[in-house]
Amino acid sequence: MSQSLIHARELTKKFGDFTAVNGINFDVVKGESFGLLGPNGAGKSTAMRMIGATSQRTSGDLTILDKDPDLFGPQIRAHLGVVPQQDNLDTHLSVTDNLYIYGRYFGLSRKFLKGKIEELLTFAQLEEKRNAKVESLSGGMKRRLTIARALVSEPEILMLDEPTTGLDPQARHILWDRLFRLKEDGVTLLITTHFMDEAEQLCDRLVVMDKGAIMAEGSPAQLIKDYSTKEVLEVRFGSERNAHMADDLRQLCDRIEELPDRILMYTEDGEELLERVYKKGFHPKTSLVRRSSLEDVFLRLTGRTLID
C-alpha cells in the first residue's frame, strides 16, 4: 500500500448545472490529521461524501486505501468511521444498542462488541447513560456517541464533518480532547470545519476551500506565515466612522481589512503599531492585539470571513 490513504486529483462533483466540488487535488497520509476548512457551502460535505464512498464523483480520480470508491464502495467503507454533520443515531434504541447494531453492520461478532462497547462508553464518558434512550441525551453527548459509534470498527480513517458545530464551549473542549487521543493512537483523521480555532487545534495540515475549489494548502502555521502577518491589530471606531478611518490607517501598515464592525491591521508588531495609531492622533473606541489566525488567512484568500 502506498503512503497516501486518500488521493484525489481533479475531483469534481456536479449536481445538474451546479458544481459543488470543482477539480480539487490533495493527498492524506497515514496517521495525519487533515482538515478541510471553509465556510458553509464551500463543498466540504460533498467532498466528504465522495471520500466516504457513498456519493459518486462526476469526474477526476479518487482512491481511498488504494481502491476506487465507484468500484469498491463497501470494501472501502469497511475501513472508514464516519461522523456526519447531523447525528443520525437510531432514536428508538439505547446508547448501548446504537453501538451494538452499528458494530453488527460491520459484521463484528457479539463477543467482540461486548468488550468494545464498554471501552467506547468509557471513551465517550457515557457509562452512566448506557441504558438511556438517545432522545434524552444532550447535544454534546449525542455527538460523542456518534463519534464512539464511528470508532466501533477501529477504522483506519475517521471522517468528521463539522464535529463541534452547535456545541457549547465546554462540550467542544471535551470533544477535542477525545480527538487528540485518537490522533495519538495513530488514527488518521479527516475533518471539515468552518471554525478556524478547531482547524488550528486539530489539523496537522489543511486545505482552505471556497466555492468548491482549494485556495491554499499547508500546516496551520505555514498558512498563517504565507498569507498573513505575525500579529493583527483590531480597532473599532464605531460603525459609522470605520469606513472613514480606513484610508488614514492604510498608510500605517502593509495591509488592512475593513469589516462591518472593525478594522484589521496586519503587522509584525501589534503593540508598536497601536502606539503609532495613537501618535497620529487616532483614538479607536476599542483596540486589541492578537496573533494571526486561519480566519485571517481565509479573509486574505477570499475577501470574506468564514462565518457570514
Binding site: G52, T54, S55, Q56, G73, P74, Q75, R77, A78, H79, L80, V82, P84, Q86, N88, L89, D90, T91, H92, L93, D97, Y100, I101, Y102, R104, Y105, F106, G107, L108, F112, G115, E119, T122, F123, R149, L151, S153, E154, P155, E156, R181, L182, E184, D185
Partner: protein, 279 residues
C-alpha cells in the same frame, strides 16, 4: 494512558466479505431490536384485530346476512366463513405496510438512519432487503395469529386451510415490497399519506371483493379488484379455507400476479434505495 489500547485496526477485524454475504440480516437484526420495545403493542394488535373484526362484522353483520340468504349462504358458506379469508389477507397486508412504509420514511427522512447504515459496508440493496425481511417477519407473525383466531371461530373448513397463511403472507410481502419502493421514491411523505393511503389503499380494500364477491360489482369497477393484491389473495384464501370453486388457470393467475408484484417491488426498492443513498 491511551483509551484505545486494544486497537487492532479495521484491516484486521472487519471482514467486508462477511457483510457482503449477510448484510441484509444485520439490518433486520437492528430493526428487530427496536421492535422488541413495542412487541406488546404488536401482539395486542395482532390478536385484537381479528377478534374485533370477526365478532363485529362477521358475527354481527353475518347473522343478519345468513338469516336472509338461508341455507345457501354466501358462496355456499356462512358469511363469516366467506369474509374471514379476506380479512386475513387484509391484516397481512396492513402488517407488511406498517413495517415497510414507516421504517422507509424514517430511514430516509425522519432520523436518516439509512444514511448511517450506508456509511458502513452495507449497500443500498442490503438495506432495502433488510427492511423487507423485517416486514416479512411481522407479516408472518400477524398472519399466523389471525389464522389461529379464525380456527377458534370455526371458519376453517378445508384440511388444507393452513396454506391460507402462505397466500396471505404472499399478498403482504407483495404489497409491502411495492409500497416500500413507493415510500422510498416519494421524497415528500405527505404525498404518501394524503394521496396513496386515501386514494389507492382505501379503494383497494373496499373494491377487492372483500365483503361480497367481486362479480357483484358493475363490470366497470371490477378492474380495481384485478389490480389489487388483496383480491388475488382473497380468492386463493377462499379456495384454501372452504374450497370455493375456482379454475386452475385462475389459481395460477392469482399466484403469478402476486409473485410478479413481489418481484417488481423488490427490484424497484433495491434500485430506489441505492439511487437515493448515492446522491
Amino acid at each position: 494512558m491511551s483509551s484505545l489500547q486494544t486497537r487492532q485496526g479495521s484491516l484486521k477485524i472487519v471482514d467486508a466479505a462477511r457483510v457482503a454475504a449477510r448484510g441484509a440480516l444485520f439490518v433486520t437484526e437492528a430493526r428487530l431490536r427496536a421492535m422488541v420495545k413495542w412487541v406488546w403493542l404488536i401482539i395486542s394488535i395482532a390478536i385484537a384485530n381479528p377478534v374485533l373484526y370477526l365478532v363485529s362484522i362477521g358475527l354481527g353483520l353475518g347473522s343478519y346476512i345468513d338469516k336472509n340468504t338461508g341455507a345457501m349462504g354466501v358462496d355456499g358458506v356462512s358469511y363469516l366463513t366467506f369474509l374471514a379469508p379476506a380479512l386475513l389477507a387484509t391484516a397481512a397486508i396492513q402488517g407488511a405496510m406498517d413495517e415497510s412504509v414507516y421504517p422507509t420514511l424514517e430511514g430516509f427522512k425522519w432520523n436518516k438512519t439509512f444514511f448511517s447504515m450506508n456509511a458502513t459496508p452495507l449497500s443500498g440493496n442490503q438495506i432495502a432487503m433488510g427492511v423487507f425481511f423485517n416486514s416479512l417477519i411481522r407479516t408472518i407473525f400477524t398472519a399466523v395469529i389471525y389464522w389461529l383466531v379464525m380456527l377458534a371461530f370455526g371458519v376453517l373448513e378445508s384440511p388444507r386451510a393452513w396454506l391460507a397463511i402462505f397466500t396471505a403472507v404472499m399478498a403482504g410481502a407483495a404489497f409491502g415490497a411495492f409500497m416500500q419502493a413507493l415510500a422510498g421514491f416519494l421524497e415528500n411523505e405527505n404525498v404518501f399519506f394524503t394521496i396513496v393511503e386515501r386514494f389507492i389503499i382505501m379503494p383497494l380494500f373496499l373494491f377487492s371483493g372483500t365483503f361480497y364477491p367481486l362479480t357483484n360489482m358493475p363490470i366497470f369497477l371490477q378492474w380495481i379488484g384485478w389490480i389489487s393484491p388483496l383480491w388475488h389473495a382473497t380468492e386463493l384464501g377462499r379456495w384454501l379455507t372452504y374450497g370455493s370453486e375456482i379454475s386452475t388457470p385462475m389459481l395460477l393467475l392469482h399466484f403469478i400476479f402476486l409473485n410478479s408484484i413481489l418481484i417488481f417491488g423488490l427490484i424497484a426498492s433495491r434500485r430506489i434505495f441505492t439511487k437515493r443513498l448515492g446522491k
